[in-house]
Point group: C2
């Protein structure tokens, strides 16, 4: 166990270095031996388990069943849907040798599982009675990435992917909307991370989808992070994979499909958005340690009192830890738990013991509170307050860094200086989108719900705008 | 949803076909498109989730932390430990292409994770303060197998693998023993599957271990199934990977290590051991549906009563399902739920409604019980009885099919006819072991705790026996 706060630069001075160092020093993760891979250490994996537990419950409550499909996809299968393979082929890791033999057909490690799952759907679905099929799987995914970042973009990552098939487009649309609302809920009420929901442009949508809905958050660098997506696949895959059924009238119909996913990337977004110069600030709902108790020294009476406090707190379903290591000083422990982002630190010294109270330090704002021992039950409220405060911070940051641009000069200037989201009208022509990206590195992130004024022009060309969109440079 | 009981041969007549058909028709699993892979369908995956939930709790209670290491292992890393790679090299799946480029170093898909995890241990461990490290991961594994069987042996499977490092061999031994006891507990108290615990021979132990403990069960074919293993790795890997630490006296020491795992294979063993001619018989603790309520017809009063029953049962933490589909007959549903192995079926007809009672059918022995409505609380006891009965069956089968052989002629005769486990004395020489296997297909499964009589001879040669061993043909 080492941790060296001095190795960590200020967040405001070097965000990228700060990010890498905090992840390593807080023991969230480490680099794997193969290029672009990462190791989820227990403290980082515990965050993923907390997210999984919450999301898995929501998925099951919706009537979606967990399943598991093979990771290795025959090349011929993944090549079936043309748009899909076009999007994913640059990122594939391919197995060519098995059991000492060159394989007759290459196997692709899943970059996502549409093709292998829908191959089975075609076998399993024959009547309207078999529908809807609503499946989800928790698994690992491999996408060969050139530039990698722990959590945010790694060759292998963990995610959940939902896959459903329905008798009507309306039912599929409901599922797409349900999924993106669930992700929004996880981001806001669990990760305390404000963001925008909207549909992606044709250029930016999922390869093989008719429409993609996304949750987009804003990082301190002013860059956007695509944080979760939900896809209306229409009948694209069902026609390619021949997934059809007899309807009640005996007529053959293709199914309507959806897929949706959220990955361990969300942990990266959370780290970047909430952290400060002292390290992580974990939102209470995903903090493996919500409350840490640090006795100023390990003497008998203090430890007895600390243990009593520990017991009462743990009985309230709070994830609490008593740090009674005797090989670290109080100062070292304080730095360590600030770095590790525990939302509440309780300091216990002779004064606290004598007065039967607790010194409580909030990680989010550093505030010190003196709490009477018998008021320990207030801790849950305090954890909620910390969550709300972190969410408020990201909401304010998002609002403050979302700009309106009436013309392309304004747009360029913003993208050169502050960055952030820009609301602008767009003709929805891919040529303008490509040109804007070329000139400013900004891409369309998602469409807003704002009605545009009749006759409003596209940000870039002179044609009429079709809608208002959010633009940003993206991770 | 199709199911065709008529496609399923009798278990006693064709075990292998019975096994494959039951798995498909009960919708536990399906074949994947790549050779030797399988799809875990929701009903099969739910069994794994129940096992995971129980085992994960035990692992965490022991102070072992979950983590996640990359699936892709550089070839140079996996080649480091000579015994280890010798054991695994015939089974490797290898990635040679990434992102459209031929890789400069091939990447192996993990067949187990010792090498990649211990590479990190070497980085993370420097002082006695860093020990013990106790990690576990839930993940997928790929081993290229020539002959595959759903659940029992597939190219890709799911498992948990625990990996620990300690300052003393004693501490490591305690961990090895703890793990095998936990697996025994899961098998007996969860999967209702009796078996033997003992150490493996040098030939059969894990590649790279000093000693392997195994849980060995017996399948109806008379063949043994290695059902879970726990390895004492000694200092083999720590010396190869240079995992050392400074002890309290400042002296450099190598760590002592263990690894242990249980896989989705356990579901295959459970299916084979418990099933009968009508399909699955699921032990209650791992049954996704413990109680199914089948109204004889979907009329209003019956459904109302059935819903009332459903509500009361579900309030008792029993996994209950009301099958009120209106496109299947009562007979079809009875067959379906027998095939799917629900431990208790409740039939509700006009007579039951009138008399305010329930007709209960036990899946394990077919017994019909008339239960007064107000005695629903007895169901939990009944589920326990069913578990005990299934476990007793496998225990009796195990005892009845464990034989003693005093000489090799007896041994050969048993292996030709009934098969099963044979207790026999062995000199522990690998030459005898190899010869016995060649002549009878039987391998050593594990050592027993029986003391042997002084001067007892080896089953095969004339030398003195070292211990009593269990032999069997194995899956």
């Amino acid at each position: 166990m080492t941790f060296e706060k001095k190795n960590i630069p200020k967040k405001s001075e070097n965000l990228s270095q700060w990010y890498h160092r905090v992840i390593l020093e807080a023991e969230l993760a480490d680099y794997g031996p193969a290029k672009g891979t990462m190791i989820f250490r227990p403290y980082g994996y515990a965050i993923w388990e907390l997210i999984q537990k919450e999301l898995d419950k929501k998925i099951k409550d919706k009537g979606v069943d967990n399943a598991y499909f093979p990771m290795l996809i025959p090349e011929s299968l993944i090549n079936k849907e043309k748009q899909h393979i076009k999007g994913f082929s640059p990122e594939l890791a391919i197995v060519t040798i098995g059991g000492g033999q060159k394989l007759t057909e290459k196997l692709v490690i899943r970059p996502t599982s549409e093709t292998i799952i829908y191959d089975s759907f075609a076998k399993w679905i024959s009547s309207w009675r078999d529908l809807p099929i609503q499946l989800n799987q928790w698994c690992n995914i491999v996408r060969w990435e050139k530039r990698t970042y722990p959590f945010l973009r790694t060759s292998e990552f963990l995610w959940q992917e939902g896959h459903t098939a329905h008798t009507s487009h309306k039912e599929a649309t409901n599922m797409v909307n349900w999924a993106i609302e669930v992700y929004k809920d996880i981001y806001q009420n669990f990760l305390a991370l404000a963001g925008y929901v909207g549909s992606k442009s044709d250029l930016e949508k999922f390869a093989g989808a008719d429409k993609t809905m996304a949750y987009e958050t804003l990082m301190p660098s002013g860059k956007a992070l695509q944080s979760a997506t939900s896809h209306d696949l229409g009948q694209n895959f069902s026609k390619t994979f021949n997934i059809n059924y007899q309807d009640k009238k005996g007529k053959n119909q293709y199914v309507w499909q959806t897929s949706w996913g959220i990955s361990t990337r969300c942990i990266g977004g959370m780290i970047m958005a909430h952290g400060d110069d002292n390290g992580l600030r974990l939102p209470p709902k995903i903090a493996p340690v919500q409350v840490v108790i640090v006795p100023v020294k390990n003497d008998k009476d203090l430890l007895k009192y600390a243990n009593k406090v520990y017991k009462i707190i743990s009985e309230q379903d709070i994830r609490v830890k008593l740090d009674d290591r005797d090989d670290e000083t109080m100062g070292y422990k304080i730095n360590k738990w600030e770095l590790r982002g525990a939302p509440i630190r309780i300091e216990i010294g002779p004064k606290e013991l004598k007065e039967q109270n607790l010194t409580i330090v909030r990680r989010d704002n550093g505030e010190k509170i003196n709490l009477k021992f018998f008021l320990i039950s207030k801790l849950n409220q305090l954890l909620d307050d910390i969550h709300d405060n972190l969410l408020k911070d990201t909401k304010e940051f998002l609002d403050k860094n979302t700009f309106d641009a009436d013309n392309f000069d304004q747009f360029k200037k913003i993208m050169k200086t502050t960055k952030g989201f820009i609301r602008a009208n767009w003709c929805e022509d891919i040529e303008c989108e490509t040109k804007i990206k070329e000139l400013t590195k900004a891409t369309t992130r998602c469409k807003t719900n704002e009605k545009i004024i009749k006759g409003a022009k596209c940000l870039y060309c002179d044609r009429n705008a079709k809608a208002q969109w959010l633009f940003a440079q993206a991770y």
